[in-house]
Point group: C2
Chain length 317, copies 2
């Protein structure tokens, strides 16, 4: 029985092995992923982001508890771009430490990835597809939200939760450009603290500054306190409402197309960059790169050449 | 006379106008950029990154002074991903405030961009090409180094300077994955502080952990103190040494190819994502996206279709 077949069959050890192959992007991983891909596409993909110290891991832990109580099998992909030199606990470790390792219907995977940009997005989605095909739903993707990551996670998720906590300095003031636009839910953690009410009010007010089309979905601002065990059921219900809205409005289909586009683009990006380092091996892409580097063609023209050609030589003849 | 011709002619107001068109990515900007592109490729592209508070703007300001003293015309692109809601001073403002606006051979441009990922990279390089064609050399690209940006800037630069300061917590410990690999120069600012010696020693030690090929270039760790006006000439000289090494070793050519590849990929990424939102308009790319979203094809297969096709239908028939 192939590794992918065993994963579809619910073999947890096969799943763990396959995730490693997929993460290493080796041939076995690629083959299995290609086989599993058409079994994916049903799970709800939840992206969680926010600044360090906002309480994302705690929230994920509470979400695991809530989804387990409702009978869901849940997978968590913790994307941790911090250095392997730190030796500190990764996001995934912090969730695992809360003791889910004995529950076969919870799977937590850390990605202390050295990849970035397109590579990181492709790797995250690849793991998500494997979990999806293996019957996990939802799949939570958690990332330390610094720089532009918090915007990028929205390209990979169906529901994006932006987590903010009081006491992180002037946190609302330091929201990254675009961060406001990408939140489908805003969650204020540490609701036991007095300043959390101000923060929630600020977020409510800032929401009205969102640009773009008149909002068909009005993102709720929700408060939660892990110490008081409050608020998690409201968040669970809001995710469900958003998921329903995605389906009814046709937005789910649009976001699936966006995710597909992001994944295709990520592969193209990784591959084009890889080929920039391949000397002397003639190929269409290498020729384009060399022409652009030599100023014989513009980057824009080269990109158009990649995008406007027919899929099959045979078809066009 | 066209806008691009006036820019090549040294018209500073035309340059400012063109930069706005390029930043807005409008038709006039695209046309002018395509015309100017083959006049670019000679300027040295310096990427400067490091955590907030590391003193990047101060260093850039000192570099402007040094390059002006050596007779160079210098351009600075300050990439500031923080929210337009903050109203705070952007990176560019902080440099401009030091009074370079009266010097016609210094041009500072802020990009408080709402774009991200591929769009941000493409926009940054587009501005760099315009400055390059207009005869500025070097071109300094400064970014607030949070998340993965500090790694990404290395894809756009010929020399990457990683700036660290003492007193930012355990800053060496929190170096992002890959940050160590991308630094061609390490600069420790605030050298007047006692802890700067420890930080410099830590960086020297960590350098030896760099992965990959045996280093043909050994990145120097340099200290600077803006208050004492020390160290900037050493940094200037080290950049020059690195630039010479790039040419002699053939590495400059390789990096130019990488930059070209990154730019092509950025355009492809932006365009593929854009087309994901285009409904019903049949095209090769839209069909691929829909097939992937519908699980009729895998993302990997779709990316290969984009990359393996010939540039021209006619050529293959």
């Amino acid at each position: 029985m192939s590794l992918s077949a065993r994963v579809l069959d619910g073999d947890r050890r096969a799943l763990a092995r396959l995730l490693t192959h997929v993460e290493n992007d080796d041939e076995l991983g690629r083959i299995a992923l290609d086989r599993l891909y058409h079994h994916s596409g049903t799970a709800h993909l939840i992206g969680i982001t926010g600044p360090p110290g906002a309480g994302k891991s705690t929230l994920v832990n509470e979400l695991i508890r809530a989804y387990r109580a409702h009978g869901n099998r849940i997978a968590v992909i913790a994307i941790d771009p911090s250095s392997p030199l730190t030796g500190g606990a990764t996001l995934g470790d912090r969730i695992r430490m809360t003791g889910w390792h004995s529950d076969p219907d919870v799977f937590i995977r850390s990605m202390a990835s050295r990849r970035y940009g397109g590579g990181l997005a492709a790797q995250t989605l690849a793991l998500a597809h494997v979990f999806d095909a293996a019957g996990f739903d939802p799949i939570v993707m958690e990332t330390v939200g610094t720089g532009q990551d918090e915007v990028a996670i929205a390209d990979l998720a169906l529901t994006t939760i932006l987590v903010q906590a009081p006491g992180l300095g002037d946190s609302v003031q330091t929201l990254k450009a675009g961060a406001l636009e990408i939140g489908d839910l805003f969650v204020v953690t540490k609701a036991d603290r007095a300043e959390s009410a101000t923060l929630a009010r600020d977020l409510q007010r800032l929401k009205t500054l969102r640009q773009g089309d008149p909002p068909a979905w009005d993102p709720p601002v929700l408060k939660t306190s892990a110490t008081r065990q409050e608020g998690i059921e409201d968040i669970f219900a809001a995710i469900q409402r958003h998921s329903d809205w995605l389906i009814e409005s046709g937005e789910r289909e649009r976001r699936q197309r966006r995710i597909a586009a992001a994944e295709i683009a990520a592969f193209v990006q990784a591959e084009v960059l890889r080929r920039a380092d391949v000397n002397r091996r003639q190929s269409h892409v290498v020729n384009l790169i060399e022409d652009v580097a030599a100023r014989k063609a513009t980057p824009h023209w080269a990109a158009q050449r990649l995008l406007e050609t027919p899929a099959f030589r045979e078809d066009s003849c």
